[in-house]
Amino acid sequence: MISRPVSRPTARRPYVLTIPALVVIAVLFLFPSVYNVVLAFQKLTPYDLPSDAEWVGWDNFESIFTDPEIGSAAFNTVFWLTALTVVVRLVLGLALALLLQSRVLHRWRLRGIARTLVLVPWMVPPVVAVACWKWIFDANTGVLNQFLVSMHILDKGEAFLAQTSTAWWAVAAIVVWRELPFVVIVFMAGLQSIPQEQYEAAALDSAGRRQSFRYVTLPHLRPVMIVVVLMTVIQTFNNFVYVWLTTGGGPGTYTQVLATQLYSSAFVSNELGQGAAIGIVMTAVMGVFALVYLRVTSDREGRSA
């Protein structure tokens, strides 16, 4: 695209740099998302040609908001699926990144292996991850139940994914397990980009470990952390694979989330328009979240040298 060094006026340079990426992104998102808005006001099945769609006005949105299940699905999405797992991932992720950075592991020659191991869950495709965990959680033959029973914590195997008391915890465990490495690795890269002399300077000021963490590490991680939180929140909020494959929204509709509702409206009940409408509501919710979030965090966004 840009092969030879050509000196251009600075004013145009940022556009030249960002346009290639924007063009590619537009290919995938622009037309489909505009069409998605159109679809939300239509009645159409996955089997028809788009040209055969019927216009139904606001019906699709109406049927979402009159659905008695929507409240619990929204709560499940916000609290159980997103907030809980993101917070746990952040705390564990930061702790693990710090542990993996520590000199101790380096001294014991364990750093390389530990860093490779931490990525392992992430290399397992979600579909497979769910299969593995179902196999572990299984009430009859699952190794977890076997362990708990032989430790006398339980009398007899429990179906973790089939009872209301444990279903969400089990799903959250799977999400955290599979998605934790991403948080760890981003934090580790962030930690590595902190210049060593800052710590040395802090040490000269006789700052303790806690203080240098507070005044050097955290401020430096801030830009990375802002990105991680935003991205994980959005991706988890929209994620449908985990719930769909582990509990299918069950027992009953106990673990139903918005994304699984979207999927079943669009592809099980064959109402593409209703799915599109749920998608738009979800997009709007995330859009508001992102705006507020960025407003709150952006006071120092930009260059921090």
């Binding site: 209301t164 027992p251 509709t253």
Partner: protein
């Protein structure tokens, strides 16, 4: 270094552009190429592949290519057909034919049937699912149903001499097996999760049909309505809930959605579960697996399985894509696939009573053959505004909610009926 990356990407792009598929299948030097798509895992299609090889040897001018797209994804076929592409012949679950007929994605077959009828056209099963708007859109091809799979030894040990023939008997026998002996054999196991595709859908319907109810039905003036009272439906829910509360079925099954889930199949194979239900294609390999583990498994008809319409007739139809360039040749292939010749190597049951009589069936699978002529397809739920998948979802979710103690059975029954009524209104 970076340059190299760029050039690599560019090179790769240049390499793959020519590979971009072109779906034009014009006859090359007089050979017609047809694609047949099916959705079983490849490991189970050797028999079908053999039948197609036989065809290809005999008809050098019409070559059929078997394409596997598993799991079944009928919406994908619709997408492709709407983009004027897709395989020439598609394998379609009976309940899905109507979806493809409505937007006219398939080729109507009536003229072909008149001109060149299949061998025993009058004798086909599942005909109610393949017609729509007065036309025929696909040909019934294979037939299956659920039979009761049981372990004779486990039954005998608990003092049960013969497999149950009614639902009440099944519950009593299963409870007896569970509480007999050392307690490591469960009487009945079945997938009971609340997801849309959970296979508890089958026994729920069987139970309802054999007790004279149905989820939805057409009234005399052709309008759709629900076909069961709240009280009767609550009794159905209570029956299945009692299987768990009496210990007849393991609570763990409430997390299982598939009859072929390892936890069910394996516990049948090793004798820790005495009874379940399976279609023939799952039973056949399981029987082998059980033998090698030292267990004998066999089948019996489902409770009330010989009552007309008390069990479901499943299976696949063959449809021809409206975009095909060679409809006549495709029809010939469809006819061949429906013939006894194909079923000589293909391990499914044919959807034709006459062919069914010609096929060798091992003794352990006789129950299927006994039951099939009495089974009735889910065509009974077709034609309303509600899709079968959405009915399944409402029913499975509510049953599951009662098992897990979130609702009472009468409340769940009420919500199922409300949900169905709403779905019927569209």
């Amino acid at each position: 270094m970076k340059l190299r990356k760029w050039s690599l990407a560019a090179l790769a792009t240049c390499l793959v552009v020519p590979l971009a598929a072109c779906s034009g299948s014009g006859p090359r030097n007089g050979v017609v190429k047809l694609v047949l798509r099916q959705f079983d895992p490849e490991s189970e299609t050797k028999g079908l592949a053999a039948a197609i090889d036989k065809w290809n040897d005999k008809h050098p001018k019409i070559q059929v290519e078997l394409e596997t797209l598993s799991p079944n994804n009928v919406q994908q076929f619709a997408r492709e057909a709407n983009a004027e592409d897709g395989p020439d012949i598609d394998t379609i679950g009976y309940s899905d034919v109507a979806f493809l007929a409505k937007p006219r994605i398939l080729l109507p077959l009536d003229d072909y049937i008149k001109k060149d009828p299949p061998a025993d056209y009058q004798d086909l099963l599942a005909k109610d699912t393949i017609s729509f708007d007065g036309k025929t859109w696909a040909m019934p091809w294979t037939a299956d149903t659920m039979a009761l799979v049981y372990n004779p030894k486990a039954l005998a040990e608990a003092g049960v001499d013969s497999p149950p023939t009614t639902w009440a008997e099944l519950a009593a026998d299963a409870k007896r097996i569970s509480s007999a002996g050392s307690g490591d054999t469960t009487g009945f196991c079945f997938p009971a999760s609340g997801s849309a595709t959970s296979a508890q859908w089958f026994p729920i319907n069987y139970y309802l049909w054999s007790h004279g109810g149905t989820l939805i039905e057409k009234d005399s003036s052709g309008n759709w309505r629900t076909g069961v009272s709240q009280k009767r439906l609550a009794e159905v829910i209570d029956y299945f809930t009692s299987l768990f509360s009496s210990g007849a079925a393991p609570k763990a099954d409430q997390a299982v959605q598939d009859y072929s889930d390892p936890s069910i199949v394996n516990s049948l194979a090793n004798g820790s579960c005495a009874m379940s239900y399976l279609p023939p294609s799952t039973f056949a390999p399981l029987e082998k697996q059980a033998k090698s583990a030292g267990t004998t498994l066999t089948t019996a008809v489902m409770p009330s399985g010989l009552t007309a319409g008390a069990t479901h007739l499943g299976g696949r139809a063959l449809g021809i894509n409206r975009n095909t360039a060679h409809p006549d040749q495709a029809w010939r292939v469809v006819k061949y696939l429906m013939s006894a010749e194909t079923f000589a190597t293909y391990g499914q049951f044919p959807a034709s009573k006459a062919t069914l009589r010609q096929v060798d069936v091992p003794a352990s699978q006789r129950a299927y053959v006994q039951q099939l002529p009495h089974a009735r397809s889910f065509g009974r739920y077709l034609g309303s505004e509600a899709t079968i998948a959405s009915i399944e979802q409402i029913v499975n979710q509510n049953f599951s909610a009662v098992y897990s103690g979130q609702k009472s059975s009468s409340k769940a029954a009420g919500q199922i009926l409300d949900g169905l009524t709403e779905a019927l209104e569209g």
